[in-house]
C-alpha cells in the first residue's frame, strides 16, 4: 500500500470509530440527566422553570462532548489536512 491509501483508510476508519465511541458516553449521560429531571419535575412541578433551564444548560454541556467528536470526524472526512497534503503533492508532480 502506498501512503495515500493508508491515509485514506486510517482517516475514514478513525472518523467512524470517533463518532461511534464518542457518542456512547454523552448518550448515557443525557439519558440519566433527562430521567432525573423528569423525576424531580414529577415531584416538584412548581420548580419546573428552574429545573428545565438547568436541564437545558446541562444537556448542552453533555452534548458538547459528542459535538466535539462529530466535528473531529467531519474534519477527518471533509477537511483532512493530511489528505490535502497528499493531494497537493500528487498535483505538484
Amino acid at each position: 500500500m502506498d501512503s495515500m491509501t493508508i491515509i485514506a483508510i486510517v482517516s475514514i476508519f478513525t472518523a467512524g470509530i470517533t463518532i461511534a465511541i464518542g457518542v456512547i458516553g454523552p448518550a448515557l449521560g443525557e439519558g440519566r440527566a433527562v430521567a432525573t429531571a423528569l423525576t424531580s419535575l414529577a415531584q416538584q412541578p412548581d420548580a419546573s422553570a428552574t429545573i428545565t433551564r438547568t436541564l437545558f444548560v446541562g444537556l448542552a454541556m453533555i452534548e458538547s462532548t459528542a459535538i466535539y467528536c462529530f466535528v473531529v470526524s467531519m474534519i477527518l472526512i471533509f477537511a483532512n489536512p493530511f489528505w490535502n497534503h497528499v493531494i497537493s503533492q500528487a498535483a505538484g508532480k
Binding site: 462532548t65 459535538i67 466535528v71 467531519m74
Partner: protein, 245 residues
C-alpha cells in the same frame, strides 16, 4: 460538499474575498437593525400599541426576565449585549426556512467571534462591578495553586462555546444535505423542522451560558450576599458550580 459557508466565495478581487458567511451576516444585521428601527420609530405608551411593538416588548421583557432569573441584578445593563447575542443566533437559525440560505453560525469564524465577545465581556463587566484588583483576586480563589486552572477554564469554555454552536449548526445543515441525496422528499423536511428547534435551543443556551459566565465573574466576595436562601434556589449562580464544559 462544503463544510461551512466560508468556502462558497461569491466575489473576489485580488486578496479580497467575499464569502457567503460575510454576506449573510451583514444581510441579517441590516434586516434586524432596519426592523428594530421601523418598529421603534413611533412608540406608544397608551392602550393601542401597534402589533410589532407588542411583539418586540414581549421579546425584550422575556430576555430581561431570563437574565434576572440567572441571578444578575439590574438586568438593563446586560440586556444590550446578551439580547443581541440571543437575537442574532436565533434569527440566523430561524432564517434556514429561506431556501438557499446557509446560517452564518454554521461557520467557525462567526461562532469564534461571538465566543470572543463573551470572553472579553466577562472581565469587563466583572471589573466594572467590583474593581480591577478585586476581580483579579477572584482568579486566586480558593488558593494560589488554582490560578492556572482558573485561566485554563476561562479559555476552554470560550472554545467550547464556539465549537458547540458551530457543531450544532453545521451538523444540521450537513444531515439535511446528506438526506437530500438519499431520501429526497419527506425526511429532509422533518430534519429541517428539528433544525429549527435545535437552532432556538442553541441560541437560548449560548446566551444563557454567557449570562452565567458574566454572573460568575460578578460575584462580590461578601459572606452574606452569596448565601441567601433565594439565591440558593436559583441554583446556577454560584461561581464554583458554574459549568465549564
Amino acid at each position: 460538499m462544503n463544510l461551512s459557508p466560508d468556502q462558497l466565495i461569491l466575489w473576489q478581487y485580488g486578496f479580497l474575498h467575499l464569502n457567503e458567511t460575510i454576506v449573510t451576516t451583514w444581510l441579517l444585521m441590516l434586516a434586524m437593525t432596519a426592523g428594530a428601527m421601523l418598529v421603534t420609530r413611533k412608540l406608544a405608551t397608551d392602550g393601542n400599541i401597534s402589533r410589532w411593538q407588542g411583539a418586540l416588548e414581549i421579546i425584550v421583557i422575556g430576555i430581561k426576565q431570563q437574565i434576572e432569573e440567572v441571578g444578575l441584578a439590574n438586568p438593563e445593563k446586560y440586556l444590550g449585549f446578551l439580547g443581541t447575542l440571543f437575537l442574532f443566533v436565533a434569527t440566523a437559525s430561524v432564517c434556514t426556512i429561506i431556501p438557499g440560505y446557509a446560517p452564518p453560525t454554521g461557520s467557525l469564524s462567526t461562532t469564534a467571534a461571538l465566543a470572543l465577545c463573551v470572553f472579553v465581556a466577562v472581565p469587563l463587566f466583572g471589573i466594572a462591578q467590583q474593581g480591577l484588583g478585586s476581580y483579579l483576586k477572584s482568579y486566586l480563589e480558593p488558593t494560589l495553586l488554582m490560578l492556572p486552572f482558573n485561566i485554563i477554564s476561562e479559555l476552554s469554555r470560550t472554545l467550547a462555546l464556539a465549537v458547540r454552536l458551530f457543531g450544532n449548526m453545521m451538523s444540521g445543515a450537513m444531515i439535511i444535505a446528506i438526506l437530500l441525496t438519499i431520501t429526497p422528499f419527506l425526511f429532509p423536511l422533518v430534519m429541517t423542522l428539528l433544525g429549527l428547534l435545535t437552532g432556538m435551543v442553541q441560541a437560548y443556551i449560548f446566551s444563557i451560558l454567557a449570562t452565567v459566565y458574566i454572573a460568575a465573574g460578578m460575584q462580590v466576595r461578601t459572606p452574606d450576599s452569596a448565601m441567601t436562601p433565594q439565591k440558593q434556589a436559583t441554583s446556577i449562580n454560584n461561581p464554583k458550580e458554574a459549568p465549564h464544559g
